[in-house]
Symmetry: C2
Subunit: 332 residues, 2 copies
């Protein structure tokens, strides 16, 4: 997991930050406990225990450390960020009626929707308790704003995802909400807690924002061209769930009349037949939208790297640059 | 609604606090808006517009005013409390698969579970944004602790409600979580924002706690003996939903073998037949548990009134005393 020689930048980050990451994991375990309701740590442990890369809390630790902060409150903030993330995963799986997450059955499948909704609420509340502890108003504002933006992005996705008139701007708004808001809050609070200069805080925010957007575009792209073995996702899940993502939005914009009718039937009306996914993939290839979506992801990764320019030289800075490259390297 | 001559103490409170309540309503409308996701204010307006007594925000305003506070932050805190309450209602209706709330179809029925979960999350996040604005660490701790306790109580209820071994202590823990935690936080933050003496803050907390418990016990009792016309609830909903509440918990404790088997079949196993509700009601009457539950509710209302003793003479204090009586007067 935390191998300093790994070619994966998040493994190298995990190695450099391993003491702090251990402290974060300890705090997560402590704070997800509940004296009265044992179901809470059960459900949370299932999800937290399933691993995941702990990318978001690592970003907070990396940003704080890079700015010379030595603690202790970056641990609280990293744990806050992971709690918000875990709460949204629990609720997302209910909303999407998902059956698998990180290669394991989802909590809503193993327990029930009720437990996922309420344990998610508990983790949200715990995250708000945690974020008050450093006593920084600005940190609380950043993180509570992020939580609101995430929910807003998710609600927007509900109405936009099956609507063929959804354009790239709306897609970007959804992605900024559901994914990038927490990435940018994670990096920004690292700078704020370290009392870094405004230009540095802004740079960290911009990095998180662009990295989050790149990350989500790649995720949406892998849904159409990933390898199930490595991604743990099935090809075409978004298509089957009638979720408009960038490759399809681009293809709809370029569609002739027949193609438009195809997208209308399969995505908007949800009337899907055998062979539809294959035809959808043909259309994405025909219009080159997988390639142009990949170019977009790379452009966002490029913006993430450019954003870091104001930061001082630091081995963690180099790893954050590599991380931006790595996020899009999953595509090739 | 705000009739100063009404015999209902919450109407008199609403009349005395009408300027502030208007400010709270304006703030709620402003803060439930969303630039990007119009579904959010639609769903929220449906629930907020349905009225409800606004009891919780009124408690915050009453406590702050009683302590001599003249503003402006009691408005933010009252709106925070109402947002937390509304968020939990949205999620409760998903968890309970409810179809009616305040005499109108629930949001999960009119829209879908997804919207209720995500709009609830949005309101939670908005409540956290709001609670940071007064800049009081203690206020944030009280309200974020309340949010965690509410979720914990709801999760505990999930596992305890269909378990015949659930005793009165566990019931009290559930009730303290799901209902009393927000009542006591509502009154406590009113005192804290007014910078009242610790003894006064403690008195306000104790009042809210006892009032909330009385309120929930009455609610659970009305489920077995209410008048559908005035309560908007159907007799026996909790029984049909296999939710153990105090009258049944007391009856189970006094049950003979045959009766225990009846409760086991109907509540624990959920195998209900025609005539079961009538038989359940007979058992509650036989063991006098509706009467003894009513006595418990009155005792909690008494504790609420006693708790107010340290507070200075004030017309609002008198109304809070009357409110405690009124809460249990719904029973006769």
């Amino acid at each position: 997991m935390s191998n300093p020689q790994s070619h994966k930048p998040h493994d190298r980050l995990a190695a450099v930050l391993s003491t702090d990451m251990k402290a974060v994991n300890t705090m997560i375990r402590e704070r997800m406990a509940s004296k009265h309701a044992p179901r809470i740590p059960e459900v949370t442990a299932h999800l937290v225990g399933a691993g995941g890369k702990r990318l978001r809390p690592m970003l907070t630790l990396a940003a704080a450390t890079l700015c010379g902060y030595t603690g202790p409150f970056h641990i609280h903030l990293a744990a806050t960020v992971e709690f918000i993330h875990t709460a949204t995963l629990l609720h997302d799986d209910v909303v999407d009626e998902s059956k698998q997450r990180r290669g394991r059955p989802t909590a809503n499948l193993l327990w029930d929707n009720q437990s996922s909704v309420l344990v998610g609420d508990y983790l949200f509340a715990r995250s708000f308790q945690l974020m008050t502890e450093p006593g920084s108003m600005r940190v609380m504002q950043i993180l509570s704003n992020a939580a609101a933006t995430i929910a807003e992005g998710e609600v927007l996705q509900l109405t936009a995802a099956q609507n063929l008139s959804t354009d790239e701007n709306t897609y970007l708004q959804v992605v900024r909400g559901k994914t990038a808001a927490l990435f940018s809050a994670a990096t920004e609070v690292g700078g704020v807690i370290a009392d870094a200069d405004e230009a540095i805080v802004k740079a960290l925010y911009d990095y998180g924002d662009a990295l989050g957007i790149a990350f989500q575009i790649v995720d949406d792209l892998l849904d159409y061209q990933g390898d199930t073995g490595t991604t743990g996702k099935n090809i075409g899940d978004d298509f089957r769930e009638r979720k408009l993502t960038l490759p399809v939005i681009k293809a709809v914009a370029l569609a002739d009349e027949t193609e438009h009718a195809f997208w209308k039937r399969t995505i908007e009306k949800g009337k899907q037949e055998d062979g539809d996914l294959e035809h959808a993939l043909e259309l994405l290839h025909k219009h080159g939208t997988l390639v142009s979506t990949q170019a977009d992801a790379k452009a966002w990764a490029g913006r993430a790297k450019t954003a870091l320019a104001p930061l001082p030289a630091h081995d963690i800075k180099d790893m954050l640059i590599d991380l931006a490259d790595y996020v899009v390297s999953r595509l090739s």
